[in-house]
């Protein structure tokens, strides 16, 4: 039992470091909170594209992908090692996670030779960024309940409808979209998967303002958007099976490791900085045991990540442990935010520059409800754990086999 690299891993890591040292600057590890928000989005995108182009040129892009599509045929563990090391350097934020992690592999699995040739190498190089267009306002957790329609007209498909929660739509060239092509078919049977050009004039992208004021996602409206049949991925009516490939490639949180002990130290400091009943807050038994509980969950997450990495390193598929990460982390984050605010007393309602303590807690408290919903709600994660990991039976399905048009969906008004 150890945390050490195998000899092969150590060699590879050294190679990675050598290259990174020569091509990037180490980040100050004490500057734990990087704020790039003051940089214009356009500048950041340009920097990210330049870094990706450079990595491609030097042979460090899409490591796990096959060489024929522009990758390096590396192992998963090598890819993880590169990611770990790259994270120590001062590099632009990644805008390729969805494309490289989910969409590219979907094209590899279901695309025609022409599609692979046209899209994959440019995706690696990064001059064209990709987004995913699955979710809809009326089809949240019930993803297959989507209603955006695609109708065949000649050699094209004409798309109408609305997608939501699309990350990066505003700077993407291509989107991958699931649309309903047959409302008389059963829910999962009437779907087809397409590649669409995000520069089509029928596409209207509107940022969604979140309750914390930030805008990380978009709504995307489609009005008579045309995409050629050659951009269809998989057979007509086979869209759900193709979409599953995308979802199964959703980047796992393996190795992210729960973020170390930073938040715990911050909580200790917050508790030291305030008084409870005339004594330092950190001397209060309830405060002490509560922080201890957070620390235990945090280390549990961290070492669960290590167990997953070990499985990778041993050439195994990581266990189902990965699926619990977001579930636990989001709930704990919400609790930590609330607790940090509580420590501040009446002043806990103050935020930002006017905070009388660490303003992280207010930010966290306003952000965590989103994390509990994005990429699978707590409820969906619990379904996944109980059904896919533990093998418990699914809910009785009353929509099974019915024509989609007869299934109630969305929000009655």
């Amino acid at each position: 039992m150890d945390f050490n690299d195998s000899p092969e891993e150590a060699t590879y890591r050294a190679k990675v470091r050598t290259w990174l040292d020569a091509n990037a600057t180490l980040r100050d590890p004490d500057a734990s909170k990087i704020n790039m928000l003051d940089e214009a989005e356009g500048d950041l995108i340009a920097k990210a594209k330049a870094w990706q182009a450079h990595k491609t040129k030097e042979g460090w892009a899409c490591l796990r992908w096959p060489k024929e599509f522009g990758g390096q045929d590396a192992t998963t563990m090598e890819s993880v090692i590169f990611g770990q090391e790259e994270g120590r350097y001062d590099i632009p934020p990644s805008i390729y996670g969805i494309g490289h992690g989910m969409l590219g592999p979907t094209i590899m699995a279901h695309g025609t030779d022409e599609q692979k040739e046209r899209f994959l190498p440019s995706m690696v190089k990064g001059d064209e960024v990709w987004c995913q267009l699955f979710s809809e306002p009326d089809a949240g957790s019930d993803l297959a309940g989507l209603k955006t329609s695609a109708v065949k007209e000649g050699d094209d498909w004409v798309i109408n409808g609305q997608k939501i929660w699309t990350t990066g739509a505003q700077f993407c060239k291509w989107g991958m979209l699931v649309a309903r092509t047959d409302t008389n078919a059963a829910k999962h049977a009437g779907l087809t998967y397409f590649i669409v050009d995000m520069e089509d004039p029928g596409i209207d992208i509107r940022p969604i303002k979140q309750m914390n004021g930030a805008s990380g996602f978009n709504e995307v409206f489609f009005t008579d958007v045309r995409t050629p049949d050659t951009n269809r991925l998989g057979a007509v009516g086979d869209g759900w099976r193709v979409a599953i490939t995308t979802l199964m490639n959703e980047r796992s949180s393996i190795g992210s490791g729960g973020g170390g002990g930073a938040g715990i130290k911050d909580l200790i400091k917050q508790a030291q900085d305030v008084e409870i009943n005339g004594r330092p807050g950190i001397e209060d038994g309830g405060v002490r045991r509560k922080i201890a509980d957070f620390a235990v969950r945090r280390s549990g997450l961290k070492y669960t990540g290590q167990r997953g990495l070990s499985a990778l390193s041993q050439g195994q598929t990581p266990g189902p442990e990965a699926s619990i990460g977001k579930l636990v982390a989001a709930i704990m984050g919400l609790e930590m935010g609330a607790f940090g605010m509580e420590l501040q007393g009446a002043a806990g309602v103050l935020s930002g520059d006017d905070s009388l303590g660490d303003p992280t807690w207010q930010q966290t408290y306003m952000a965590m409800p989103g994390l509990r919903l994005a990429g699978g709600t707590d409820e969906i994660l619990r379904n996944i754990i109980s059904e896919r990991v533990l093998g418990m039976p699914g809910e009785p399905r009353i929509d099974k086999g019915k024509p989609f048009k007869d299934i109630p969906s969305g929000t009655a008004r």
Partner: protein, 369 residues
Amino acid sequence: MNFDFSEEQKLLQSTARDYLTENSSLSHVREVFEADAGHSQALWKGVAELGWLGVAIPEEYGGAGYGYLELAMIAGEIGQALAPIPFGSTVYLAAEAITQVGNDDQKKQYLTGIASGDLIGTLATTEKAGTLAEGSVSATFADGKLTGTKLPVADGDIADFAIVLAKEGSSHSLVIVDLNGDGVARTRLNSIDATRPQAKLVFTDAPATRLGDAGSGWTVTQDVLTRAAVLMAFEQLGGADRAFQITFDFVMNRFAFGRPIGSFQSLKHRMADLYADRELARSNCYWAAWALENNDDELAVAAASAKISAGDAFENMVVDMIQMHGGVGYTWEYDCHLFYRRAKVLAHTIGTTAEWREKLITQLIEDAA
């Protein structure tokens, strides 16, 4: 026995709800929130005209001379509407402090002004992060002048006067300060709920008059906070009621997998637990209202119990409100976050729920001795 509000009190409640439905809709709340306006002057004027500000103020000072049960009914409605007005600061805190220990001149001046809607008041106690304790008060009153800094002060930037807890000699006194007068500098502070604005008040030799006896400030403050807790608990209960109803309507009308999401057991069971929480909170609130109205010996325990249970019920409700709404619940456009923010502010404003737990157990230990 009749451990319930009377028909007249319920009629008052229903009238108040009708008025606020019309004049404090969630879109109006949102206007105030997005404009960062602090409060709705129109609504403030409206509730003054309806006499709500003086419900519990004696008739001789321009009030309606009703009791606390009537005020509790209105507080509940203020809470359910998320009304963006300095009602709590002015009525539960400022008016209450003056009613309790003000002299006749002070009552004439301030209670009359509050009842008519001409004066907004507030109570300023805290100066720093952490729990309020006698040792954490640095503002000083001497020779009729107040010097020091108070923050956060709810509604401090829009109030006309503040009742300030200050050191006087070796003890504490409460003093009244005209916030529009000399020696007062005030700044709006960023807070999580722009409809319940917070401010920093800096006093530099600001003219001030003592409220109540010299040296009584700490005791009177605690007493006023206890009384205000009862009414604030009703606001929290009202907020929880409304958030529950909105969430209930949503889950009954939102379909997934061919059925209303409200038919899924994980949501149903949480709604059942939230319902139970809220009914226990309501019962504690009733008890506290009864104790306040009757000035019963149990007031301290009942007020803390109401504040804790209604505060927790509201906070738990809004967290699930967002979660049960799914993605849209996290958007700016939906109203969930207005409730989420208000629940947190009410849970902090006159001391955190944790501080009320401390007050409750202190009293319980004393009672058990």
